[in-house]
Amino acid sequence: MEVKQVNFDDSPPLEVHDLTVAYHRKPVLWGIDLVVPKGKLVGIVGPNGAGKSTLIKAALGLVPVSSGWVKIGGVPARKNLKRVGYVPQRESVDWDFPVTVMDVVLMGRYGHLGMIKRPAARDKEIARECLEKVKMLPFANRQIANLSGGQQQRVFLARALAQESDLYFMDEPFAGVDAATEAAIIALLHELKDRGKTLMVVHHDLPTARNYFDMLLLLNMRVVAFGPTEQVFTYELLQETYGGRLTILSEVAEAVRQRG
């Protein structure tokens, strides 16, 4: 393989090649191929158990991969995590944890700090700006438990902003938030996109998916379709994604789990 100087700006922000992921030996994603262009807002859509969150986690190296590879900005993902922002599902953390909103947002800066360095004034400034953007600055010193679901989601978003990444993975940022927050989040996503960021957003709600995203990734254990929303959002493709026509795929996955 030829070695060349890779510049983030001209290699695709996210490139996934033949990615297969298995949980407890049971495959949940088969042979995923993706090349995501820069500056797009991509919705990841599919039924429950389609592997949407798994795709994100695999890209971030949070789950072991059976085969294939993921490149971020032309570099193996594990080596380029500083350029990636991550918004996990809201339920994945303990909201009773004794930290303030500000502390959580500052965590977004940790990737940029070394082992020893403490968040400096500049990091705090960035965190404040990010909170301002999600209209949560007045809550900066609140303990995170004292927030509504929508506010918690905004805090997570602010944290991702503070990561100052070029590529964002968001796992169901709209789950369980009020309409105002949903509108605010989508405005923010568009703003990020306009600044040349790439966003991969797991989304549950099909009707709104059409309006929110530039591109859609229809996922059901494999890539059913990936392309501009207007091309992909068709009855046939959605039928194929949600219709469960590929029961054999999950049957075989089960067989692999039992025998593998």
Binding site: D18, T20, W30, G31, D33, S67, D96, A145, R222, V223, V224, R245, L246, I248, L249, E251, V252, A255, V256, R259, G260
Partner: protein, 503 residues
């Protein structure tokens, strides 16, 4: 194991509960009889035996002539039954450490019971300890309900706080001269020799109660353990069952204290039940097995601590239980690590053989099936291996009756040919399926099919074939062997080389 099997049969007939009640509850009965059996009395406390040899002690143990020994043994067995039964519920309810907490929490109760009239009065201690244990359980729940502290913190907190209070009381008691020989410190690590006839009576009563309660209300305990929400919706008093379980748990902890000690009671609750959990998937069998393991562990402790003076009983019981667990963990027929490793290994071997068969098939296919023999050189070239490796694989196939070897030429037996075709068929059908139905790029499907071909079952393959409209060719344009082809191969006469198959 006999118990285990009979349990299975009667359940299938629908009467499993009645059965386990009689078999388990009869154990304490005959144990009590054993206690009262008139024998020559060697009235020596076990802990004080000093100038006997190892062999003599073993003989003494198995002749059961010593009443103190009989009490110790019977007591250990009873506590084994109790702890196994209750522990079964703890382990499946993911409450294992509740047992740990509760067993430490009884200590202040033990001390207070002792202070009642400054003797080791089993009843006073029993009552005090039970109250302390239940109080501990209530405090854990209260902390969980009223504060932000999580369950593990609440458990650890109660454990430490109650235990420290108990230690304060015990050190105060020990300061008093009258109590110096009381043996209250034996409650920390356990000494089965300290079990008296009164203790045995109490233990039998508690065991009978636990066994009866669990047998009669088995359904309630089961459903509230498995799915509290559903149980509440169905009208089961979940809270009552929870506290009933806690009460029985406190009972079994308290009766175990003398022999096992506060610190290690939790092991008797957790380990036998965990071992049983490795071996069975049914709750009632789990409970019976856990009790059996508990009995074994209890007897182990009584035996080993008898061998030499001043050996504590509890740690030996725990090691007995741990040994059972390690056995179950490694050699359990279904979930055991060794069994799983062995199956994995034999599958890996089979996969290797199947890959060789496939390569042979490919060689034959490449020359349109002209001539039946495939030389080792051809195979090695196909698999990009050395001749030696190819020879080894050929020998392996021969050992499994899938090929014969004449000089350096291999011939597939009908069985081998059939298997080779089936694998190739699986591979190609799966590739076709991934490309056509799942629309995965053609250059990706091969690697996946390499793995999947070995695990596809016959029914899945037929289903695949049907969905692909009985396609004849794979995405790369090669013929997919059909069922008819495979049958034909099976029916072919066996080709026996000069020094061939069976040699």
């Amino acid at each position: 194991m006999g118990v285990y099997h009979r349990g299975t049969e009667s359940t299938e007939r629908g009467g499993g509960r009645a059965f386990s009640f009689f078999s388990v509850s009869s154990v304490p009965l005959w144990l009590i009889l054993l206690c009262f059996a008139t024998q020559n009395v060697w009235a020596v406390r076990i802990g004080e035996i000093s100038e006997t040899t190892f062999g003599e002690q073993v003989v003494r143990f198995f002749t059961f002539r010593d009443p103190a020994l009989r009490y110790a043994l019977v007591g250990s067995i009873l506590l084994g039954i109790n702890c196994g039964l209750l522990g079964g519920f703890l382990v499946v309810r993911k409450m294992a450490l509740v047992g740990d907490s509760l067993s430490h929490a009884v200590l202040p109760g033990v001390a207070l019971g002792f202070m009642w009239n400054m003797t080791k009065d089993p009843v006073a201690i029993f009552i005090g300890a039970t109250i302390a244990g239940l109080l501990g359980a209530v405090v854990v729940n209260l902390i969980k309900e009223t504060t932000l502290l999580k369950e593990d913190t609440a458990l650890g907190l109660v454990l430490a706080a109650f235990f420290a209070a108990g230690m304060v009381l015990i050190t105060i008691i020990q300061r008093l001269e009258t109590a110096n020989k009381s043996g209250v410190d034996k409650y920390l690590f356990g000494q089965a020799a300290a079990i008296s006839l009164e203790d045995v009576k109490l233990m039998s009563a508690v065991t009978a109660l636990s066994v009866a309660a669990i047998t009669i209300f088995y359904k309630g305990f089961l459903v509230t353990s498995f799915d509290a929400g559903f149980a509440r919706a169905t009208g089961f008093p979940v809270r009552v069952f929870h506290y009933a379980l806690m009460l029985l748990l406190a009972f079994s902890v308290v009766i175990s204290l003398q022999a096992v000690g506060v610190v290690l009671v939790s092991a008797m609750l957790i380990t036998p039940a965990a071992a049983a959990y490795m071996l069975t998937d049914r709750m009632h069998r789990l409970l019976v097995l856990a009790s059996v393991f508990g009995i074994f562990a209890g007897a182990c402790g009584a035996f080993f601590s008898f061998l030499r003076p001043n050996l504590p009983t509890g740690p030996f019981m725990v090691l007995g239980a741990s040994a059972v667990f390690v056995g179950a963990f490694l050699f359990g027929p279904k979930h055991g690590v060794v069994v799983r490793w062995w199956m994995h290994r034999s599958r890996a071997h089979r996969t290797k053989r199947e890959n060789t068969l496939k390569s042979i098939f490919h060689v034959l296919e490449a020359r349109n099936f002209h001539g039946e023999g495939v030389t080792l050189a051809e195979l090695a070239e196909r698999r990009r291996e050395t001749i030696e490796e190819a020879r080894q694989q050929a020998a392996n196939l021969r050992a499994h009756g899938q090929a014969t070897l004449n000089e350096d030429t291999m011939y597939l037996t009908p069985d081998g040919m059939q298997r080779a075709m089936a694998i190739v068929r699986n591979h190609r059908l799966w590739e076709l399926y991934l490309t056509n139905a799942a629309q995965i790029a053609v250059d990706h499907v091969h690697e996946d099919a390499e793995k999947i071909e070995h695990v596809l079952g016959e029914d899945v393959v037929r289903e695949l074939e049907r969905r692909l409209d009985f396609a004849q060719k794979d995405p790369h344009g090669r013929v997919i062997p059909s069922v008819a082809d495979i049958r034909k191969a099976a029916a072919a006469p066996e080709r026996v080389g000069a020094t061939g198959y069976g040699n």
